[in-house]
């Protein structure tokens, strides 16, 4: 088991192999994310019941929660890829980390924006300096920092190293975002989804939410693979196999 994992890990380190295998995966991920997102959106907007207190404005949860979950997952993945790049000097890992950053920043922005739109009618304020909201804003700035560092150096390697270290340091923020609503008094309500407990809302509300979350993950997978493939082609353009790809067409 471990051995096959190690073998797979080393093969993934080869840009050509990564390019080939993700080329085969992308259509599956793209179709899955399109189906899940369309089904989830229709279900969430048309069929899921409204909330007894908030009415229809509750439905923004179906964008807000998936985006917030993705924002944190992507940051974690980016930091892990950065660590692999630092320790094993794996170029593909650096490219994955680089491709993660703009997607994660967009997700963070979507979470903050939908949160503000949701906060105005329910709480009565667009923005409150509460621990959850502030930690999420810091996450957005960390993403900006990582993106800026990646292009701040002449050599791609130094940029990758610096941004990997920043993302590893920034990973400390992830548990703070997650537990902020438990550690401190906040205006933000506690988590909608937890791994250990059943959601507090009925199935007809949380099943479409789960569909949206999985759809967002598939969408992220598709975009990440597409971006990484572009990055691979860009950096490996002088190699035989990329030249071969070009001459074939």
């Amino acid at each position: 088991m471990w051995k096959t994992f190690v073998a797979w890990f080393h093969r993934m380190g080869s840009p050509k192999w990564f390019y080939d295998i993700t080329g085969r995966w992308i259509p599956w991920f793209a179709v899955a994310s399109a189906l899940l997102l369309i089904a989830g959106t229709v279900w969430a907007l048309a069929f899921a019941p409204e909330d007894y207190q908030q009415g229809n404005s509750f439905r923004i949860i179906y964008i807000h929660v998936p985006a917030a979950i993705l924002a944190q997952s992507i940051f974690f993945l980016m930091a892990m890829a950065g660590a692999v790049g630092l320790i094993w000097k794996m170029k593909v890992a650096d490219m994955v980390a680089k491709s993660c950053a703009p997607i994660g920043a967009s997700m963070t922005f979507i979470a903050l924006f939908t949160g503000a739109v949701w906060g105005k009618p329910t709480w009565g304020a667009w923005w409150v300096w509460d621990a959850r909201l502030t930690a999420m804003l810091i996450l957005l700035f960390l993403y900006f920092g990582v993106i800026a560092l990646q292009s701040a150096f002449d050599s791609k390697q130094s940029g990758a190293r610096a941004s990997a270290i920043l993302s590893l340091v920034g990973v400390v923020n992830i548990p703070i975002i997650k537990y902020s609503v438990e550690w401190w008094n906040t205006l933000h309500q506690p988590a909608t989804f937890t791994l250990t407990e059943k959601p507090a809302m009925p199935a007809e509300m949380w099943v479409p939410l789960l569909v949206m979350v999985i759809g967002f993950y598939c969408f992220f997978g598709t975009i990440l693979m597409m971006r990484t493939r572009n990055e691979i082609l860009e950096r490996e353009k002088r190699t035989h196999w990329v030249q071969g790809l070009l001459s074939k067409k």
């Binding site: 009618p121 329910t122 709480w123 340091v169």
Partner: protein, 147 residues
């Protein structure tokens, strides 16, 4: 894993651990300031400064809302089920404001020990439910009360 990589792995993990400890200590030291609001118990125990702008949070006590007839003045009590604080406010309350609802008010304590709010925000929890379920819950609670 070769020794060089192992060394790097240990170095990186200890760096992350050190940052985590440092941030943890800072947050622990600041924890009082990170709390968005004071609870009625903290106010009753005199932890909240008088005259300064602070936030107070709690549940609106059932039957405590008093509205003025000719103005937007409103007064209600908030509780954390141990202590209560009277909140005075003048303005439009958020849609979710109602008895039994969690709220966070911005303002300051006056000399009488009442909280004069300049802004009231409604807090909601993660227990979303359809209106029918809420009606059913209420109905069953009422029948239970009658029995």
């Amino acid at each position: 894993m070769n020794p060089k990589r192992k060394k790097k792995l240990i170095l990186l993990s200890s760096m992350v651990a050190a940052v985590a400890v440092a941030v943890g200590l800072v947050l622990f030291a600041l924890s009082e300031n990170i709390n968005l609001f004071y609870t009625p118990t903290q106010i009753a125990q005199g932890e909240a400064p008088v005259g300064q702008r602070i936030r107070a949070g709690g549940m609106v006590v059932e039957g405590s809302i008093e509205r003025a007839r000719d103005s937007l003045d409103v007064q209600f009590a908030v509780t954390d089920y141990k202590h209560e604080v009277i909140v005075k406010y003048s303005g439009i309350l958020p849609d979710l404001f109602r008895e039994g609802q969690g709220i966070v008010a911005m303002g300051s304590m006056n000399d009488q020990g009442d909280f004069e709010a300049s802004e009231v925000l409604a807090k909601h929890d993660e227990n979303y439910m359809p209106p029918e379920v809420e009606a059913a819950l209420k109905a069953s609670a009422e029948t239970a009360a009658i029995e």
